[in-house]
């Protein structure tokens, strides 16, 4: 228990320390990498709520990542071209304000998760995996064929969106914003796991029959978890699109769904800070190995295979040992 707390502390400090060090050494690119890690970790934290806590193997979380990204893209695109999104019956204009964009991203991806979850959770096991994968793919093809927002080529946002009172163009400031969001969500996710909802959800993962026998409905628990999970991953998507000032159908792809899963697994499924470890490791590999070989995905695949076959608890599992049942 103590070990895991130390590991968590280390992981919590890892990114800000890296960013500050990079700032001191005047390496803005490293700050951007740390920001990317924080945002991808956020996507993973979202997935972990459904996957680690709820036991729902969703291989379509890119659906929500993409929705968040396009929420940002659509709102910002209309703002930068000074054309409203809709004129009648309501006037809806675009915006480049991050808080508003985040709110929209959370709400829309949450709603999408409600729809997709309500359908997908009627199935279980392998069916569920296939269905979530399919819905992600559906949005991928839709975003390619819908011409208004760039289709296959994607959508560029020329200037980073704004946050009241802050200069978001400065890399360190934007890192701070992304990290603050990550920290808040980690706090929320941690509390969620220990709350009545978390106890019941995790119990449903271990033994759904037992949960029914005490008068709680696993379907409802899982649906709520799926919605929260989708909303968080959607928020990450909006931030990711903002980081790159670009959104494209790739954010909806099955590869993206797979990558988000990789962050969670490499760090340790169900561990609160697992996605932070996993995302950081992934960025490190992408940068270091990717620099050495353009075929670095082979090594990523081998690493993933080794972790799945032999190191089930991920990195945190290796270092901090088996999870202790905690009060």
């Amino acid at each position: 228990m103590m070990r895991e707390k130390l590991v968590n502390l280390f992981l919590f400090l890892l990114l800000p320390v890296t960013a500050l060090a990079a700032f001191a050494l005047d390496e803005p690119f490293i700050i951007t990498l740390a920001t990317k890690a924080a945002i991808l970790a956020l996507a993973g934290v979202g997935l972990n709520i459904a996957l680690g806590l709820g036991g729902l193997v969703s291989f379509g979380h890119a659906a929500f990542f993409g929705i968040g990204g396009y929420a940002m893209g659509i709102l910002a695109a209309h703002a930068q071209s000074y054309t409203p999104i809709m004129e009648s019956p309501f006037l809806i204009e675009g915006t480049k304000s991050m808080p508003v964009i985040w709110l929209v991203a959370i709400v829309v991806s949450g709603l999408a998760a409600l729809l997709i979850g309500a359908l997908s959770l009627r199935t279980s096991g392998v069916y569920f995996i296939m269905v979530t994968l399919a819905f992600g793919q559906m949005l991928f093809y839709f975003s390619i064929s819908w011409p208004a927002y760039g289709g296959e080529d994607g959508l560029s946002i020329y200037v980073r969106n704004g946050f009241p009172g802050l200069n978001t163009l400065d890399p360190l400031t934007f890192f701070a914003i992304a990290f603050a969001v990550l920290a808040l969500v980690l706090l929320f996710a941690g509390r969620l796991a220990r709350a009545p909802f978390g106890l019941a959800l995790s119990a449903a993962r271990q033994n759904a029959e037992r949960v029914e026998a005490v008068g709680l409905a696993p379907f409802r628990l899982r649906l709520v978890a799926f919605v929260i999970s989708g909303a968080v991953t959607g928020l990450a998507g909006a931030l990711f699109a903002d980081l790159n000032r670009f959104v494209s159908p790739t954010m909806f792809s099955w590869q993206t769904s797979g990558e988000i899963m990789i962050f969670v697994i490499l760090g340790g499924v169900g561990r609160l800070f697992g996605p932070v470890a996993g995302a950081a490791l992934f960025i490190l590999l992408e940068h270091v190995l990717g620099g050495l070989s353009e075929f670095w995905h082979i090594y990523l695949g081998l690493l993933l295979l080794l972790v799945v076959l032999f190191a089930r608890g991920g990195m945190i599992g290796l270092i901090a040992g088996r999870e202790v049942a905690h009060d």
């Binding site: 509390r191 969620l192 220990r194 709350a195 009545p196 909802f197 978390g198 106890l199 019941a200 995790s202 119990a203 271990q206 033994n207 029959e209 037992r210 949960v211 029914e212 026998a213 005490v214 008068g215 709680l216 409905a217 628990l221 709520v224 999870e323 049942a325 009060d327």
Partner: protein, 251 residues
């Protein structure tokens, strides 16, 4: 007229040509232990599922304390007051003993959609859980991981979780299963006291326990109740002897 807390009326269930449940009626009165016995393949599991909620009957009805629960799901019947234990212990294995008991208390309270306050620190739930654990004798093991418990302790935990539901009726599926001689004796003594909390429909194979505990015994053979009465009546019933002992005359 003592109220009937569990009223199973004329249940029928067929699977194709096989009549798994053939016009079964059972009642359970307050303070009573009603045992359901029968040879393997008699249809006990099918019947249990129809009472607990996992299987829809072809006809007939089930009532808890006057409420018709026939259209209700397993979850809803648990909320309506059914405390069930499983033949094969069905617990959250990663959790501690206390966490499993708190889960039961949480289910009973119904306030599960809470996302912020730590559940294990909630006074009421802890107290409820500890009360149940004390009653079954597991209070000292509250912090132990369920996966590390012995078989007998898991059976005890099953009962504890059912207790936290403050049920109107207990449905117990072979609570003695896998317990050795001393474990069975303890469980028998425990169930004897448990009847005061709520009456028990006890499905069991262990005849010593059944004859020691049961106020009434019903015998299920090929989906039908062939006899129902006190222990003495059942022991003397010729049809029961044929069903259990074959054609030998065990006079």
């Amino acid at each position: 007229m003592t109220e009937v807390l569990l009223d199973v009326r004329n249940l029928h269930k067929s699977f194709g040509a096989l009549k798994a449940t053939d016009d079964v009626s059972i009642t359970l009165r307050p303070g009573e232990i009603h045992a359901l016995i029968g040879p393997n393949g008699a249809g006990k599991s099918t019947l249990i599922k129809q009472i607990a909620g996992g299987l829809r009957s072809d006809s007939g009805s089930v009532h808890f304390a006057g409420q018709d629960v026939t259209p209700l799901s397993t979850v809803q019947r648990a909320r309506a007051g059914l405390g069930r234990t499983f033949q094969i212990s069905s617990l959250a294995m990663e959790y501690t003993v206390l966490q499993n008991a708190v889960l039961g208390a949480l289910g009973q309270s119904g306030r599960v959609m809470r996302f912020f306050a730590p559940v294990m620190r909630q006074q009421k739930l802890r107290e409820e859980a500890m009360r149940a654990l004390e009653l079954v004798g597991l209070a000292d093991h509250a912090a132990k991981r369920t996966a590390d418990l012995s078989h007998g302790q898991r059976r005890q935990l099953e009962v504890a979780v059912a207790l936290t539901l403050r049920p109107k009726v207990f449905l117990m599926d072979e609570p003695m299963a896998g317990l050795g001689a001393s474990g069975s004796k303890e469980m028998t003594g425990f169930l004897d006291g448990l009847r005061r909390e709520a009456p028990i429909l006890l499905v069991e194979h262990d005849m010593d326990a059944v004859f020691a505990l049961a106020d009434r015994i019903s015998v299920l053979v090929y989906g039908q109740i062939i006899a129902s009465g006190t222990a003495a009546e059942i022991k003397a019933d010729p049809q029961v002897r044929v069903a259990y002992l074959g054609e030998e005359d065990a006079a």
